[in-house]
């Protein structure tokens, strides 16, 4: 008999086990591998076929505590136990489970798999529209992009049908009568585990009950499900932590997510690095980096990404007519202020901030980087571009890539982090055109006019169009400048600069771009994916994944092609046709726009240090004490890290542009 084959117990071994308070329905169905150390099997009741690996070594528990492998005081029914597993004090039973090498299971109640279990795969999550119509059958390897297409592109019914079929096939492949606990996982003090597949190195400790789910996990990115968590119908991704009494019902949780502090969610999806504490989510699509940390915050029937919810943020999706049918879209980078409220339907443009109790239904997708503020009567007022020049926007762009917690072998959600991109700058161009038209059409006698469901003060129209112009110039001129600067910096001549500014290979061009919950793609690429899904050319989940990867990989080339065309449209010439003096003009334009941007961001930072910001400091002291207290706690403006970075960039900008101008004129 090979060493890795299972064998029946000898009569002596059975006798010894019986002396150790063990019982078997049929000892002939208790199989072991290698030599059995009977001292490591005590008080165990065997039902059905139970296979046991070698129990000669030790396991390492949380905190590095070493314990003996073995099975003590447990009832096992139809299980396969790997090598050096530790199973102790099973109050109820473990039935129909395959338990990986080195796993630890202690103090669980019932842990069972029923026939035909799908482990949460195929659960229909009614995201975004609580009334239904956008149900997503979730599955363990689902990406934000797959879910987005499935949720948002209902106008392509053949696409949806094709995706649904693929998911159904995948669910079948995941269906089993046996549950799994992966190698090295720790499952402790959980009263109820039914139809849950637990991945390698996962930590499931103290959860109240987990049913119908998958916990994906691997040693490089272990998942954790902690104290008091109650989860039913769920998928939890690698590296995610669900802790602190969180309640999940019909939820998908992607990779690197944090949910805890009594947060409750139902019919919701959370993708890479989302964070949800204290509050509540119902029917939301929480794209990558969606963050809600505060109590009294209800996110309902909305789609978000790179979002930050202020305390008390709330929305309504119910007009008390035909049911909770309304939905909202907060595009990437949006924020909602404390106790802000929106009555769906609404669309909030990228990187916009919503404040106050908004009672208007607005669609401000073409007004990115805006402030949307409600007046006392609930009317929403938009201030386009106001959030372009803020410390918050600059810091957001820098912090997200640094805070990517996904450490596993694959990152399923494809994320383009750029704040300024064809997606956002394209919106600024649309917004600028709309504002200019509105300025022309609006009489000076008028105080305010309607804009896409919100109000806009006449006086802000012209100025905010200029904000967009600055943002557009900064991006388009900056990208051209940087490419030409790099080519010259590498010792290149005129032909090298021309090459650097020429059309990239393999790029596609679309005026319109879309944000597939983190992945920015040219519309043409998305259309191609749609077409391939409809024709059957893309016919399984792997092919969908490859197609989406293709969009992600092409971002740089497609972005540059978009910039080239947008540049030509705005300034009259394709970048590769620019002569030396024209490139110097581009550099000067970039210096002006970027310099303006940095100066305004610095002015925004300055507000954090001015007199108003010092209120409450130096309590009981003199005005000098107030200043000293403030500086002790907050530091000095001049010494602030962010301020120094901005100033350094300003100084560097002048040097770069001067140097470039000198060189480019000699080409």
């Amino acid at each position: 008999m090979a060493a890795n084959e299972y064998r029946k117990l000898s009569p002596v071994e059975v006798h010894r086990l019986q002396l150790q308070n063990c019982f078997a329905e049929d000892w002939g169905k208790v199989l072991v591998r290698g030599d059995l150390d009977e001292r490591r099997v005590y008080g165990v009741e065997f039902h059905g076929t139970v296979k046991i690996g070698e129990l000669t070594g030790t396991v390492e528990d949380v905190g590095g505590v070493v314990k003996n492998a073995g099975i003590y005081r447990a009832k096992l029914s139809n299980c396969e136990i790997g090598d050096n597993v530790r199973i102790v004090d099973v109050v109820g039973h473990i039935a129909n489970y395959r338990i990986g090498d080195g796993a630890i299971i202690e103090g669980v109640g019932t842990m069972a798999t029923t026939p035909g279990a799908t482990f949460g795969n195929g659960t229909l999550v009614e995201a975004v529209n609580e009334g239904g119509g956008r149900e997503i059958p979730v599955f363990d390897t689902m990406s934000a992009q797959f879910a987005y297409i499935m949720c948002a592109h209902r106008y392509r019914p053949k696409v949806i049908a094709a995706l649904e079929k693929m998911v159904a096939d995948h669910v079948r492949s995941r269906t089993s009568d046996m549950g799994e606990v992966g190698a090295g996982a720790v499952v402790r003090s959980v009263p109820e585990i039914v139809n849950v597949r637990i991945g390698a190195a996962a930590r499931v400790i103290g959860a109240a009950a987990i049913e119908e789910g998958t916990i994906l996990s691997e040693p490089e990115a272990p998942a954790e499900v902690g104290m008091g968590v109650a989860a039913k119908y769920f998928i939890i991704g690698e590296g995610s932590k669900i802790m602190g009494g969180a309640i999940l019902t019909s939820c998908f949780v992607g990779q690197g997510v944090r949910i805890g502090k009594q947060f409750s969610a139902e019919n919701s999806l959370f993708f890479a690095n989302a964070e949800a504490f204290h509050g509540e989510a119902v029917s939301i699509f929480a794209g990558p980096y969606t963050t809600t940390h505060h109590k009294s915050t209800l996110l309902i029937a909305g789609m978000f990404s790179f979002y930050n919810a202020g305390s008390g943020t709330n929305q309504s999706n119910h007009m008390y007519k035909l049911g909770p049918l309304h939905q909202g879209l907060l595009e990437r980078g949006a924020k909602t202020g404390s106790f802000s409220y929106m009555i769906w339907p609404c669309v909030v443009g990228p990187f916009s901030v919503v404040m106050g109790k908004n009672m208007s239904n607005f669609d401000l997708g073409d007004m990115p980087f805006s402030y949307i503020d409600a007046a006392a009567d609930g009317k929403s007022y938009v201030y386009p571009g106001m959030n372009l020049f803020t410390v918050g926007t600059v810091r957001d762009g820098a912090k997200w890539p640094d805070r990517d917690r996904r450490k596993g072998t694959s990152k399923r959600d494809r994320i383009v982090f750029d704040v300024f991109s064809p997606y956002t700058v394209g919106r600024m161009m649309t917004g600028e055109a709309q504002l200019k038209k509105l300025a022309e059409e609006t009489d000076r006698s008028v105080d305010e006019v309607k804009l896409s469901g919100a109000m806009i003060r006449r006086l802000v129209i012209k100025t905010t169009a200029k904000y967009y112009a600055t943002g557009i110039d900064m991006y388009l001129m900056g990208k051209v400048f940087e490419r030409a600067e790099k080519a010259i910096g590498e010792g290149g001549g005129a032909s090298d600069v021309k090459k650097a500014l020429s059309a990239p290979r393999g790029a596609v061009h679309s005026d319109e771009w879309t944000d597939l919950s983190g992945l920015l793609v040219a519309r043409e690429r998305l259309d191609a994916v749609h077409a391939d899904l409809e024709s059957g050319k893309v016919k399984d989940l792997r092919a969908v994944s490859l197609a989406l990867d293709g969009g992600f990989d092409a971002y740089g080339a497609d972005e540059w092609e978009w910039i080239r065309r947008a540049y030509a449209e705005r300034y009259g010439k394709l970048p590769h046709k620019l002569k030396g003096d024209e490139l110097a003009w581009v550099a000067a334009g970039y210096r002006k726009a970027r310099g303006k941007f940095l100066k305004m961001v610095l002015a925004d930072a300055q507000k954090e240090f001015d007199e108003l910001a010092q209120i409450g400091f130096g309590v009981d002291g003199s005005s000098a004490d107030r200043q000293a207290d403030f500086e002790a706690v907050r530091g000095k403006f001049e010494e602030d890290k962010f301020v120094m970075q901005m100033r350094a960039e300003m100084a560097n900008l002048d040097e770069r542009v001067d140097d470039f101008t000198n060189k480019v004129k000699k080409l």
């Binding site: 402030y371 503020d373 007022y381 201030y383 106001m386 020049f389 000076r444 003060r457 006086l459 802000v460 129209i461 012209k462 100025t463 905010t464 200029k466 904000y467 600055t470 310099g595 303006k596 100066k599 305004m600 002015a603 300055q606 507000k607 001015d610 007199e611 108003l612």
Partner: protein, 79 residues
């Protein structure tokens, strides 16, 4: 008080919804007159309209007192 200063007070009074008499030459728009960031955009546009001048968005950060603002406008009008 010059014509520019008087007209600037009118503009400030209208946009910030404050009594013209409370505006002093040393008044800081934010600290003393309570200007909010969103009002600053309206103020730029209102000044541009009133004096028929163009103000760069970032120049606003340099002229946040009544005195400096009036000086800026006088310079721009003279140009």
């Amino acid at each position: 008080m010059s014509d520019v200063e008087d007209r600037l007070k009118d503009v400030l009074s209208k946009i910030l919804k404050i009594d013209k008499a409370t505006i002093k030459s040393e008044s800081h728009f934010v600290r003393d007159l309570g200007m909010e960031s969103m009002q600053s955009i309206e103020l730029i546009a209102a000044i541009e309209e009133e004096f028929d001048i163009e103000i760069d968005e970032d120049d606003v950060t340099d002229v946040l007192t009544f005195e400096k603002s009036a000086g800026y406008i006088k310079g721009a009008v003279a140009d």
